[in-house]
C-alpha cells in the first residue's frame, strides 16, 4: 500500500511541476509584456518596473524564482494589475467563498446522488425508478450555466424567495442557488452510475446467497452490496471535482459570489497574468491532490487493485 502511494506521488509531483512550467512559458510567450499599454511608458519607468518585478532577468532565472517562491513560501508573486496586492491576497479573499459552496455542492451531489441511485436500483421499474432515471437524463443537458439562469428565473423573479446573487458572508439564502446550480448535473451523473452499478451487483451470485440465507433487504444492501457498488462512483469523484471547480467560474460570474472564479475571469479580461497563473496552478494542485486521494481511497476499498 505504501509503495502504491509513493508510486502515485511520483506521478503527481512532476505533473504539478509540468503544469507550473507550462503556464509560466505560456504567460511569457504572450505578445507584449504585462505593462505594455496603449500609451507607452517612458523607457526608464518601464525599465524600473521590469526590474522591480524581476522581468529583466533571463527567463530561466525568472522561472526558477517563481517556482522556488511557490515551493518554499507558497508565494505566487505580485499582481500585475493591482499594485498594492499580491496574488496571495487575491486568492485568500476569494478561495474561502469557493471552498464553502464547492464543499456543499460536492457533499450534496455525492450524498443525494448515491441515495437516489440506490433507491432507484432497489425499486427497479417502479415509479420511483422512472422518476430518478428521468431526472438524471434531463439533468445531463442542464449544466451549471443553464441551471443558474433557470433557478434565478424561478426563485428570484417569479417566487421572490431567494436573492439573485451576492454572498454577504455566506448566509444560507445566498448559498442555496449556487449549490443547486453547481451540483445538479453531477448529482444526476452519480445517481446514474450508482443505479447501474447497484443493479449489476444485485444480480451477482453473492447477493443471491445472501438472499437465500434469509437476510433482510436493508442488510443485503448496506452490508453486502454497498461497497462494490460505490467503486465506480469513487472513480467518478475525480472528474466530478474537476467539473465543479471549473463550474465555480460560472457560479461566481452569474451569482456574483466573489469566489476565485470571478477573480480568474477578471484576471483573464484584464490580462493580469500572475493572477490567472496563480489560480490555474492552485486549481491544478488541488485537482491533482484530490485525484491522488481518490486513487488511494480506491486502492484501499478495492482489494483487487495492488501494484
Amino acid at each position: 500500500m505504501i509503495i502504491y502511494i509513493l508510486k502515485r506521488l511520483s506521478v503527481a509531483l512532476p505533473t504539478i511541476l509540468i503544469l507550473i512550467i507550462i503556464s509560466f512559458l505560456l504567460m511569457h510567450s504572450a505578445p507584449g509584456g504585462p505593462f505594455t499599454s496603449e500609451k507607452p511608458l517612458p523607457e526608464q519607468v518601464l525599465k524600473n518596473i521590469n526590474a522591480k518585478y524581476g522581468l529583466d532577468q533571463p527567463i530561466y532565472n525568472q522561472m526558477f524564482n517563481y517556482v522556488w517562491g511557490i515551493i518554499t513560501e507558497f508565494d505566487f508573486g505580485p499582481s500585475f494589475r493591482y499594485k498594492d496586492r499580491t496574488v496571495n491576497d487575491i486568492i485568500a479573499q476569494g478561495f474561502p467563498v469557493t471552498l464553502k459552496y464547492g464543499t456543499w455542492s460536492f457533499i450534496l451531489a455525492v450524498l443525494f446522488g448515491t441515495s437516489l441511485g440506490i433507491i432507484a436500483a432497489i425499486r427497479q421499474n417502479t415509479f420511483l425508478d422512472y422518476l430518478a432515471v428521468g431526472f438524471s437524463i434531463s439533468a445531463q443537458v442542464l449544466p451549471n450555466f443553464v441551471m443558474a439562469p433557470i433557478l434565478v428565473l424561478i426563485f428570484t423573479l417569479y417566487l421572490g424567495w431567494l436573492p439573485g446573487g451576492g454572498w454577504e458572508g455566506g448566509q444560507i439564502q445566498f448559498v442555496i442557488m449556487p449549490v443547486i446550480a453547481l451540483s445538479t448535473s453531477y448529482l444526476a451523473s452519480i445517481a446514474r452510475l450508482t443505479r447501474s452499478s447497484m443493479l449489476e451487483v444485485l444480480n451477482s451470485n453473492f447477493i443471491r446467497t445472501a438472499k437465500a440465507k434469509g437476510l433482510p433487504q436493508y442488510k443485503i444492501v448496506f452490508y453486502h452490496a454497498l461497497k462494490p457498488t460505490l467503486l465506480p462512483v469513487i472513480s467518478y469523484l475525480g472528474p466530478a471535482f474537476v467539473g465543479m471547480i471549473t463550474g465555480s467560474v460560472v457560479i461566481d460570474m452569474y451569482f456574483s459570489t466573489g469566489g476565485i472564479g470571478v477573480l480568474f475571469v477578471n484576471g483573464a479580461l484584464n490580462r493580469d497574468y500572475s493572477t490567472i497563473m496563480g489560480i490555474t496552478i492552485l486549481v491544478g494542485c488541488l485537482t491533482i491532490t484530490f485525484n491522488l486521494l481518490v486513487d488511494i481511497l480506491y486502492a484501499w476499498i478495492d482489494p483487487k487493485i495492488r501494484y
Binding site: 505533473t15 450555466f145 443553464v146 460570474m253 483573464a268 490567472i276
Partner: protein
C-alpha cells in the same frame, strides 16, 4: 412431435423464391438495432429538423443577423416581442437585432464547434491511441503517461489561459478544444488496439513484411471505426457544452459571431427586464439538440458496441 407442416412449406417456398439467403453484415445488424431504438430514431429526426432549420431558416428570415431594427430600439421589452407582424419571429435581442437570425447563426456555429472538435478528437486520438497500443512497451508507457498528466490538468483554466494569451478567436477556440478533446478517445482506442493486435490477421500482415505504419493505417484503424464512431457521437455534445461554457463567460465566441452559450448568456443577463424570450429560444435549441445528440450517441453505442448488449 408437433410439426407445423404448413409453416415448413411456407419456409421452403420463401427460400426458393428469394433465391438464397442474404448475408447480414455487422453494419446491417447495427442499423437494425439502431432503428429499433425509438428514443434514438426520434432524436435523429429532431436533430435533422434542427439542421434543416439552421440551413433553410435564413430563407424565411425577414431580418439579417446584423441589421438593427431602429424602430423598436429603446422599448425592446414591449416592441421587441416575438411576433409575425414585425418579422421578428423570435423577438429581438437587447441591441435590436433579430433573434431568429441570431439563433440560426448560433446553431450553426455551436454545431460546427461540436463536429470539428469531435473530428479533431477522432484524428488525433485514433492515431495516438493506435500507435501507443500497437507499439506497446516503453513507447506505450510514455505516451499514456502524457495522456494521464494532461487529463489531470484542469483544462478549462488552461483553455481560458490560452484564449487570453493568444487572443480570442474561433481558430484559437478550436485549437484549445482540440488540445483536450482527444485524450479520452486515445485511451479507448489504445485499449481496442491492444486486443486487435493479437489477432491472426495482424500476425499475417507482420509475417508478409508489411510496415508498422501501414499495418496501423490499413489494418488496425479500419477495425476500430465502430468504437470510434460511437465515441465521436458522444463527444459532439461534450464539445458543444465546453464551447457554450466558455462563451457563457464571454471568453469564447466574439461578436458579431455567436453561439448557443453566448446567446444564453445574453438572455440570462437581460431576463430581469422582462425579455424572457431572449433566454428561452436559445435555451430551447440548446437543450433539445443536446438531448437528441445524447440519445443518438447512446443508441449508436447500443447498436455498435457488443459489450453492453
Amino acid at each position: 412431435m408437433i410439426i407445423n407442416k404448413k409453416n415448413i412449406e411456407d419456409l421452403s417456398k420463401n427460400f426458393s423464391e428469394s433465391g438464397g439467403i442474404k448475408g447480414r453484415s455487422l453494419w446491417y445488424d447495427a442499423r437494425t438495432r439502431f432503428l429499433k431504438n425509438k428514443a434514438a430514431v426520434t432524436s435523429l429526426i429532431i436533430l435533422s429538423i434542427i439542421l434543416l432549420f439552421a440551413f433553410l431558416g435564413p430563407l424565411f428570415a425577414q431580418w439579417s443577423n446584423e441589421e438593427i431594427d431602429w424602430t423598436i430600439l429603446g422599448d425592446i421589452s414591449t416592441l421587441g416581442m416575438p411576433s409575425f407582424n414585425t418579422g421578428h419571429f423570435f423577438g429581438t435581442d437587447e441591441l435590436g437585432r433579430d433573434l431568429y437570425s441570431r439563433v440560426i447563426q448560433g446553431t450553426k456555429i455551436s454545431l460546427m464547434v461540436g463536429v470539428v472538435g469531435a473530428l479533431i478528437a477522432v484524428f488525433v486520438g485514433t492515431l495516438y491511441g493506435a500507435i501507443a497500443g500497437y507499439f506497446g512497451g516503453r513507447i506505450d508507457t510514455i505516451m499514456m503517461r502524457i495522456v494521464d498528466i494532461l487529463m489531470s490538468i484542469p483544462y478549462m483554466f488552461v483553455l481560458i489561459l490560452l484564449l487570453v494569451i493568444f487572443g480570442r478567436s474561433i481558430f484559437m477556440l478550436f485549437v484549445g478544444i482540440g488540445l483536450i478533446s482527444w485524450l479520452d478517445m486515445s485511451r479507448i482506442v489504445r485499449g481496442q488496439t491492444l486486443s486487435i493486435k493479437k489477432k491472426e490477421f495482424i500476425e499475417a500482415a507482420v509475417a508478409t513484411g508489411v510496415g508498422n505504419f501501414t499495418i496501423i493505417l490499413r489494418h488496425i484503424i479500419p477495425n476500430l471505426l465502430g468504437v470510434v464512431a460511437v465515441y465521436a457521437t458522444l463527444l459532439v455534445p461534450g464539445m458543444i457544452l465546453t464551447e457554450s461554457f466558455i462563451s457563457f463567460l464571454g471568453l469564447g465566441i466574439q461578436e458579431p459571431n455567436t453561439s448557443w452559450g453566448a446567446l444564453i448568456s445574453e438572455g440570462a443577463k437581460t431576463m430581469r427586464y422582462g425579455t424572457l424570450w431572449q433566454l428561452l429560444f436559445p435555451l430551447f435549441f440548446f437543450v433539445v439538440s443536446l438531448f437528441s445528440l445524447f440519445f443518438i450517441g447512446d443508441g449508436l453505442r447500443d447498436a455498435l458496441d457488443p459489450k453492453d448488449r
